[in-house]
Subunit: 349 residues, 2 copies
């Protein structure tokens, strides 16, 4: 956590599809919630599918360099079916996460009142997934031999370091320790992925000795998915690797009312590089331009951004506004813009 | 599929915890359903946690060799908290799957009438996951350097071959083609795991040209988990890698009434080695010996075993009996044994 500053120099990457639309609402709410004396400067970066089609570039060095000098980054969504799978993900989104050492991928999951969940019985859901963001099977380490032939061999290497695991595990203990229930669950698959899994478990146990008040628990990733739908109320804080975190947080979003509400922060707690905040959802090209995109996930990501920059009060104000707004939604259609307006009005009020 | 024989020489590995109890019911139903003139021979193998504690062995060569000469293997469950995580999984269960080249890990998911699902609205669920069983991150390929120190590096290597992917993809197309809806979904994460993911996708598309009647679809694994809870009815046949299949099939079991009902077959369709049938659930040491274990998953696994050996009529008889039995369950407790008796009576009738 940084100290509250009197100006925010924000990089904005609207990206593709509905990214533009939801980011506009995020900025609207951000402007409305900030104290008058805080100067908000934003700079938009044209990155994503259109840029790639135009110039072949995903994230040129000059822009990566320029992005470093912002206090934070707000990102909409990256990706379009017209771009081969992986080009923008690896060349832009993951490149940012890795270059800026976003080792905490923070994804809170809460079932807000009055929100539709596919789960019968509406369990109480309020947990946060601390997903490792810079290692595991996401390193791009792998290759393909005899590509495209019947003799092809393709590998993917999951790289895990004690350095990388300890820092995310420690962060998760801190978060668990600061919450009322003080419960931390490690999710991995250490009965099969024994090398990485045992290292995770050993570090988890070792760091845990420094947090005697935190209750701990271990689940294999397959079993965790069962509990996500049968007993999600059992979770408080979850710490897990990059790929398991990716899978679990989409499932978490689904059971808490859909990815229209799921926020995330790609955080570098050291402050050496700007952290990046983005909704969990993608660019949804099928509904782009229709006004059907729910900007709430982006607006909740703005709350995480504010919290990261030290504006705790403003972060809570946004979260409360979302809660209140959702409680009053009655299923009538409201456009992207209308939801943004409603939330901006609430936080300003 | 093999041709129906007039004798079955079955290896039985009851294993640990509830494994013993559920396998006993599986055998009871198997005996009841088989025609009088089919000779059933069974040989029990004492493998699992107790054996390991006693002798330190997981799967000695002599027993691996002996197992080869059976027509099929029925396995209960392997694992106990007293054994370090991974020892029995890698040394016994996965060793069997790999040694006998069980490249088709078949896991049907069906929401039977009158069965409790955590999903509101009781969607119609009837799909089958064809999970690759001999490659991916399950190969045990990886390692740890400077183990236990702050400088540790642990890797896990996912190995994927065109040979291995094509044969499981082809099997999945065959299964999809034989089903009324003829729909096949590939699940991977080819926007991040680009080497393995692109190979899977290319082979999936190439083999698909031979099955013009099969409708195809691709989903990233994270998105697939969303649809498992919001629109499970969209799935017919799913083909996926070993780890994604592990995760998805536990989630599938959860939404279709729990792992008490989820059956699986580790199949080698070439017949070079015996195939192995087992419930998806684990050894559940907490309820072992209480009579609370539901043997239905094992009994449905016996149906898959019979189908594999050419006894289609008997397989259907078991599946129909389970359907009918579940339709009449009213929530009153019935012991493991009582459920086995009820199903044995139905299939014999
Ligand atoms: C788009 C993709 C690279 C990304 C990921 O896998 O991390 C997304 O699914 C997410 O969860 O942010
Ligand atoms: C016990 C474990 C090794 C196994 C697996 O991961 O395949 C189990 O979860 C399964 O799904 O059969």
């Amino acid at each position: 956590g940084s100290v509250m500053s009197t100006s925010i120099n924000l990089a904005v990457i609207p990206g593709d599809g509905i990214g533009q639309e939801v980011v506009a609402q995020g900025l609207k709410v951000l402007t409305a919630v900030l104290p008058q004396d805080v100067k908000l400067e934003t700079k938009e970066y044209d990155l994503g599918a259109r840029r790639w089609h135009r110039t072949g570039e995903t994230l040129p060095d000059a822009e990566l360099e320029a992005l470093k000098h912002h206090d934070a980054i707000l990102l909409g969504a990256i990706g379009d079916p017209s771009v081969p799978s992986g080009v923008l993900e690896r060349g832009l989104l993951l490149k940012l996460r890795f270059a800026f050492d976003h080792f905490i991928n923070l994804r809170p999951s809460k079932l807000f009142p009055n929100t539709a969940t596919p789960l019968a019985g509406r369990p109480e859901i309020d947990f946060v997934v601390v997903r490792e963001g810079t290692e595991g099977p996401y390193t791009g380490n792998g290759g393909s031999l005899r590509t495209g032939t019947p003799a092809e061999v393709a590998t993917e290497v999951s790289i895990n370091t004690a350095y990388g695991v300890e820092r995310v595990v420690r962060d998760a203990y801190e978060r668990a320790n600061a919450r009322p229930r003080k419960k931390l669950t490690l999710v991995h698959k250490n009965n099969v992925l024994v090398y990485a899994g045992h290292m995770w478990k050993n570090i988890f146990d070792k760091v845990g000795q420094e947090y005697p008040e935190v209750t701990t628990d271990y689940l294999h990733v397959d079993a965790a998915t069962i509990f996500f739908v049968t007993q999600p109320e059992r979770f408080d804080v979850i710490v897990t690797d990059n790929l398991f975190g990716d899978i679990l947080t989409d499932l978490a979003a689904a059971v808490t009312g859909g990815i229209g509400l799921a926020a995330s922060g790609n955080i570098n707690p050291t402050g050496s590089f700007p952290s990046m905040f983005e909704p969990v959802h993608g660019s949804a090209p099928d509904i782009a331009g229709t006004g059907k995109a729910d900007p709430t996930a982006t607006i909740l990501s703005v709350a995480l951004l504010l919290r990261h920059l030290g504006y705790e009060e403003q972060a809570v104000r946004i979260e409360d506004a979302v809660s209140a707004d959702l409680a009053e939604r009655d299923g009538t259609f409201r456009s992207t813009d209308a939801i943004g307006d409603a939330l901006a009005a609430r936080v300003a009020g």
